[in-house]
């Protein structure tokens, strides 16, 4: 009798409540961790700032690289924000392996949380970390007078796009982690996935200057849509392709990656 009562209740609004509650709890935990260790965000900001101020400044007057835009540093900024977020996301897979080696993963899987809530909770954690990182980078951009269009809607929209894409990449990373299972091997695989994603996207240069084969690859790369949307929102650059397509592609990427990760993630404990 008791079993039936539980099962029938689980059939109604319970799963949704647990998914939302689980994402909330894991997001909350990530914020607390950030507050205990906020140096991490600052040290992680060094690399994107080097890209921006060394690489970007060196090529500052290069109009071809900036797709005709007058300042390559500004053109590069959304790409570098997305890249820094991608780095954060990819290392969430490493965290899964770490949590497997200690007992956190087993523990989470033995709670009533649905698998998809665990995966989305981790993705949300990566999103929050990436958001904090992006705020640091935006502050530097504002302080150095790089010509961003500072509109509330534009900045908010760009950050939403970034958080969704980062969540998707975190799920992708968790899928890889559940397949490779050891930390050492994951380091190699992580690099192997991250750099092609970065280069086969519009993060550093416009699609228009790419050879055809690379452009085809870039068109299937979520990072391209993320950066494209952010450029339109932060700089007002229109290079064909509409904003809603960017949002739709990134949202679909997150949904598919989360669904696959929810299936493969429990395998990580084996």
């Amino acid at each position: 009798m008791h079993a039936e009562a539980v099962v029938s209740r689980a059939g109604s609004a319970e799963p949704l409540r647990r998914i939302v509650g689980g994402i909330g709890a894991m997001g909350w935990a990530e914020i607390r961790k950030l507050r205990h260790d906020n140096v991490d965000i600052l040290t992680r900001s060094v690399q994107p700032l080097l890209w921006l101020f060394i690489f970007g400044t060196a090529l500052r007057r290069n109009r071809a690289l900036a797709g005709g835009f007058h300042d390559y540093r500004a053109y590069l900024a959304p790409g570098i924000m997305a890249q820094a977020a991608l780095f954060i996301a990819i290392f969430f897979g490493l965290a899964v392996i770490w949590e497997r080696d200690v007992g956190q993963l087993q523990r989470l899987l033995a709670t009533p949380l649905p698998r998809v809530a665990i995966v989305l909770g981790k993705a949300g954690g990566a999103g929050i970390r990436a958001l904090a990182q992006s705020v640091v980078l935006l502050i530097v951009l504002a302080a150095t007078g790089i010509s961003i269009k500072w509109t509330v809607g534009g900045v908010a929209g760009a950050l939403v796009l970034l958080v969704f894409a980062t969540g998707g990449f975190a799920c992708l990373s968790m899928i890889l982690a559940s397949l490779v299972r050891t930390r050492e091997r994951f380091m190699g695989i992580g690099q192997m996935v991250m750099m092609p994603l970065f280069f086969a996207s519009s993060a550093l240069y416009p699609l228009s200057i790419m050879p055809k084969w690379l452009r085809v690859l870039a068109h299937g790369n979520p990072l391209t849509y993320e950066v494209h949307g952010m450029r339109q929102l932060l700089l007002g650059i229109h290079t064909g392709g509409t904003l809603w397509v960017d949002f739709l592609f990134v949202a679909a990427f997150l949904a598919v990656a989360a669904a696959v990760a929810a299936k493969t993630y429990p395998r990580a404990i084996l």
Partner: protein
């Protein structure tokens, strides 16, 4: 292997590393599907009614499940949120678990700064918040010094007397099992070699201690067995705990 555990009893699953104790716990906590056969917990089938089981269990894996980057209090809050504890009752239940497990003195310290005994008590506290009917503990006292070990067992005993929680414990420490468990099952190479109360087992095999029962039942001593991964894990664990 076939066995059953009565409500409210303290049941010990014993065996050397690699015997299949952890796998058994993972099947019962719905982390692994049985490849053959079946099991039920509190009347719920482990394959078909996994969620119903996960709602009523507390599980403490062998490795540390506390998040080292969060404080003890935050760990409690986190597990309250993910184990279906109603929002209105969270505070009270956390306070109670803190009292029962004696965590007051280190509530605001980060998990990574806690000693092994503190960690185990904190873990047990996080597993009590949903008022589990059955608590699974995988090698709960590995790597603990005798004092911490005694404290953990005292708290578990109190819990069982107060709340009637069933304890399902795996261990390879025979004296500990003898002292703490109402009933014991001895496992070896994935099979159940013997089961009963410690006294029954000694009588059945005509020996004085459980250690000898193991040898008599399996023809081996308990030290053999185990894999590289098990060894690496328990050593890393004791290093972190130490």
């Amino acid at each position: 292997m076939t066995f059953s555990v009565a409500a409210g009893e303290s049941f010990g699953l014993l065996g050397p590393n690699g015997a299949g104790k952890t796998t058994t716990i993972r099947v019962l906590t719905t982390l692994l599907r049985p490849t053959d056969g079946g099991a039920s917990v509190d009347g719920h089938d482990v394959v078909r009614e996994g969620l119903a089981i996960r709602r009523i269990l507390g599980y403490i894996p062998q490795a540390i499940s506390i998040d080292g980057a969060l404080t003890a209090r935050e760990n409690l809050e986190f597990y309250a949120r993910v184990t279906d504890v109603p929002r209105a009752e969270r505070r009270e239940r956390i306070e109670r678990a803190v009292g029962v497990m004696g965590l007051d003195s280190f509530l605001d310290r980060l998990g990574r700064t806690l000693s092994g005994g503190m960690l185990r008590r904190l873990e047990i506290a996080t597993a009590l918040l949903n008022r589990p009917r059955i608590l699974f503990l995988d090698e709960p006292t590995v790597g603990l010094d005798p004092t911490a070990r005694r404290l953990v067992w005292e708290r578990l005993e109190e819990l069982r007397e107060e709340a009637g929680t069933t304890l399902f414990v795996t261990t390879h420490q025979m004296e500990e099992a003898e002292r703490q468990c109402d009933r014991i099952a001895i496992m070896d190479l994935g099979r159940l070699a013997a089961q009963g109360t410690p006294a029954e087992l000694c009588e059945e095999f005509e020996v004085d201690t459980l250690d000898d029962v193991f040898t008599a039942a399996t023809g081996r001593t308990i030290e053999e067995g185990g894999s590289f991964r098990d060894a690496r894990r328990s050593r890393r664990l004791s290093r972190r705990l130490g």
